[in-house]
């Protein structure tokens, strides 16, 4: 066994690019939410479709706009549109003849963009297109590069109106390029048909304006209602089913939830009666979407809801010692025992209390203590969370060098901070920031009893 052998083995693993990009996108959306939580908690997501080109490119000028020619073909096509793409939903629908072929064309700056197909299943809208013409750059990074080589906007481009989605990089095809994207319809009530107002603003090396109203019609889906529910023992959290929408390649679960704190988040695992896991796309406050369909012979689904508790950073002055910092929602405590300055360093000694080490992994604990920071008390102005970080000056916060373990059994730690750049440093002017949220997000999740949803109830 050597490096070559290892890499050969790895080369065999196929990377589902589109799904990986979608997972990355979801991670970013979750991250953004996490950061925004102090402002807007547990609200349905309405996050912008992330364009890979700079926003200034959206404002194209001096373009020549030509009328769009639109032909909606009524006959579904078989087997060619999605063969070049990774979209599993697109492939599945196409093999069932459920992707509508289109031929809508718009021309600008010597580039023709044609929307070639569209589908609408569950809340997923898939659109494919091709670009050709003399204006196209021949040297796009394509699938090897990190950028998608095109930008787009929905409606007038206002951020609040953009939908989430994922897209595949442009792919060379003949003299032009082809591309595919999936958009997620954001509202809970899904219209049976609509025109998606889509404008490409950058295509294959050139900015421009290629506008479309892509006609889509929802593929007929079966809706099964259910009022099954599950709640935590103390009744603080509950999950109540409303309906399951069986799409041809996707699934939607609608429900109601109750959480104790607005920052708390929900996740879930869903299996069918054969043990097949549905491929989760996104969880919102009242709706979860899945990128897989429910098999025909499925009698019931098992839903495992799980809530993660959230807690903002606790900020507390260290001017008086010892200092006890107590988590607002949990039992956890940080006891600061000693602060000393030595050789241009501030050394903080502290012990963690009321932490069940069998519940919290070692690396999570290490991450938690590594993220303990100091902040100039007068700069905090009573702010917390993201508001605090956004309003701080660059030199307000001191980040610790790695925290070291003093006594593993007692959970005693020592964090060291560089203070050589601060004139007249006095720790009494500082507060400690304790990220209790790291512990709460990684432990203490509230697992509700699984919920069984019968899919064949009216017989």
């Amino acid at each position: 066994m050597n490096k070559e052998w290892f890499n050969e083995q790895l080369a065999d693993i196929e990377v589902p690019k589109e799904e990986v990009f979608a997972a990355i996108h979801r991670g970013i959306v979750l991250g953004k939410e996490e950061i925004k939580k102090t402002k807007k908690k547990f609200k349905p997501k309405k996050v912008a479709y992330i364009a890979t080109m700079a926003a200034s490119l959206l404002f194209a000028s001096g373009f020549v706009f030509q009328p769009i020619t639109a032909v909606l073909a009524s006959v579904p096509i078989i087997g060619s549109i999605y063969e070049n793409f990774h979209s599993d939903i697109g492939k599945k629908l196409e093999s069932n003849g459920l992707v509508g072929k289109l031929k809508e064309k718009a021309t600008d700056n010597g580039i023709d963009v044609t929307v070639t197909s569209a589908y609408y299943d569950g809340n997923n809208i898939g659109i494919t297109f091709k670009a050709d013409g003399k204006g196209l750059s021949k040297n796009l990074s394509g699938s090897t590069g990190p950028e998608a080589d095109y930008s787009l906007k929905l409606f007038d481009g206002v951020e609040q109106k953009q939908w989430e989605g994922s897209r595949e990089p442009l792919m060379k095809k003949g003299d032009g390029y082809i591309g595919a994207m999936t958009l997620e319809y954001p509202l809970k009530t899904l219209p049976s048909k609509m025109n998606v107002p889509l404008t490409f603003t950058y295509m294959g090396g050139k900015k421009g304006n290629w506008s479309f109203h892509v006609p889509v019609q929802q593929i007929l889906a079966e809706e099964i209602t259910s009022n099954a529910k599950s709640s935590s023992q103390d009744g603080d959290y509950f999950f109540k089913m409303q309906s399951v929408i069986k799409g041809k390649a996707t699934t939607i679960i609608n429900y109601q939830t109750k959480v104790i704190d607005e920052g708390d988040s929900l996740t879930m695992r869903v299996y069918d009666d054969h043990g097949k896991k549905l491929n989760l796309q996104q969880v919102d406050e009242q709706r979860a979407t899945f990128k897989s369909e429910i098999d025909k012979d499925t009698n019931y689904l098992m839903i495992y809801p799980e809530f993660s508790k959230f807690e903002d950073d606790t900020i507390q002055s260290i001017s008086v010692l010892p200092q006890k910092i107590v988590s607002k929602r949990f039992e956890s405590i940080v006891n600061i025992e000693k602060v000393q300055t030595k050789n241009q360093l501030l050394i903080l000694d502290y012990t963690l209390k009321n932490i069940n080490t069998s519940d919290v992994r070692k690396d999570i604990l290490q991450n938690f203590v590594d993220q303990i920071k100091l902040v100039k008390t007068k700069d905090t102005n009573g702010l917390t969370g993201q508001d605090l970080y956004e309003n701080l000056k660059a030199d307000s916060i001191l980040y610790a060098k790695k925290a070291s373990v003093v006594d593993e059994k007692e959970l005693s730690y020592q964090s060291t901070f560089h203070i050589e750049h601060i004139q007249g440093f006095d720790y009494k002017n500082y507060s400690i920031i304790v990220p209790f949220g790291i512990l709460s997000l990684n432990s203490d999740s509230i697992k509700l009893d699984p919920i069984k949803v019968n899919l064949k109830q009216q017989q």
Partner: protein
């Protein structure tokens, strides 16, 4: 190699820059996740969680040149956490049946021997091997990433290779006997 300026932009809160540097690492993220969790859906979950963690904490990355190592460390921690969670859940009744079915399902779907072979190793051996062979980290960097002395890492690698060899050759022998 990712443009260091893009990483700096991402650290300073530029979301587009963040997305592009993550996408530049996406193949490595996916393949590393597969080595730990051994199936596509879980690997995608791990990536999502990793990106989420990276997004909320990238402003704390002090040295942009360590971005890749930092990101992969988050991924590995997340994978461990994921596997741990899966193993810890106590199941009964319907849930237990699902678990059994799911496990069988995964085995059928397993495409390559490598993730399986790696999964038989101790966590530390597994990580040392992945960082050394796949992420091209030096013994010194692995020692830093895993917070262990260099000598320990060398021992991990040596033992891991011996054990991997046993698993892989064992599988080959089994195949031959089947023929």
């Amino acid at each position: 190699m990712i443009d260091i300026n893009l990483i700096l932009d991402a650290i300073n809160g530029d979301e587009e820059a963040f997305e592009s540097i993550i996408k530049a690492e996406s193949d490595k993220l996916y393949k590393t996740a597969i080595l730990y969790v051994r199936n596509k859906e879980d690997a995608l979950d791990v990536i999502q969680e990793t990106v989420y963690k990276a997004f909320v904490s990238i402003n704390q990355l002090n040295s942009p040149e360590y971005f890749s190592t930092w990101l992969i460390r988050i991924l590995i921690h997340t994978s461990y956490q994921f596997l741990n969670k899966k193993n810890k859940t106590v199941l009964s009744g319907d849930a237990l049946i699902h678990k059994i079915l799911e496990t069988n399902h995964q085995n059928i779907e397993m495409e390559v021997d490598l993730p399986y072979a790696l999964s038989t190793l101790d966590n530390s051996y597994q990580t040392a091997i992945i960082l050394f062979y796949y992420h091209d980290l030096s013994i010194k960097s692995i020692a830093e990433a895993m917070e262990k002395p260099e000598g320990t890492i060398k021992t991990y690698l040596r033992r891991a290779k011996v054990e991997l060899k046993k698993v892989i050759e064992g599988a080959k022998n089994y195949e031959q006997r089947m023929v």
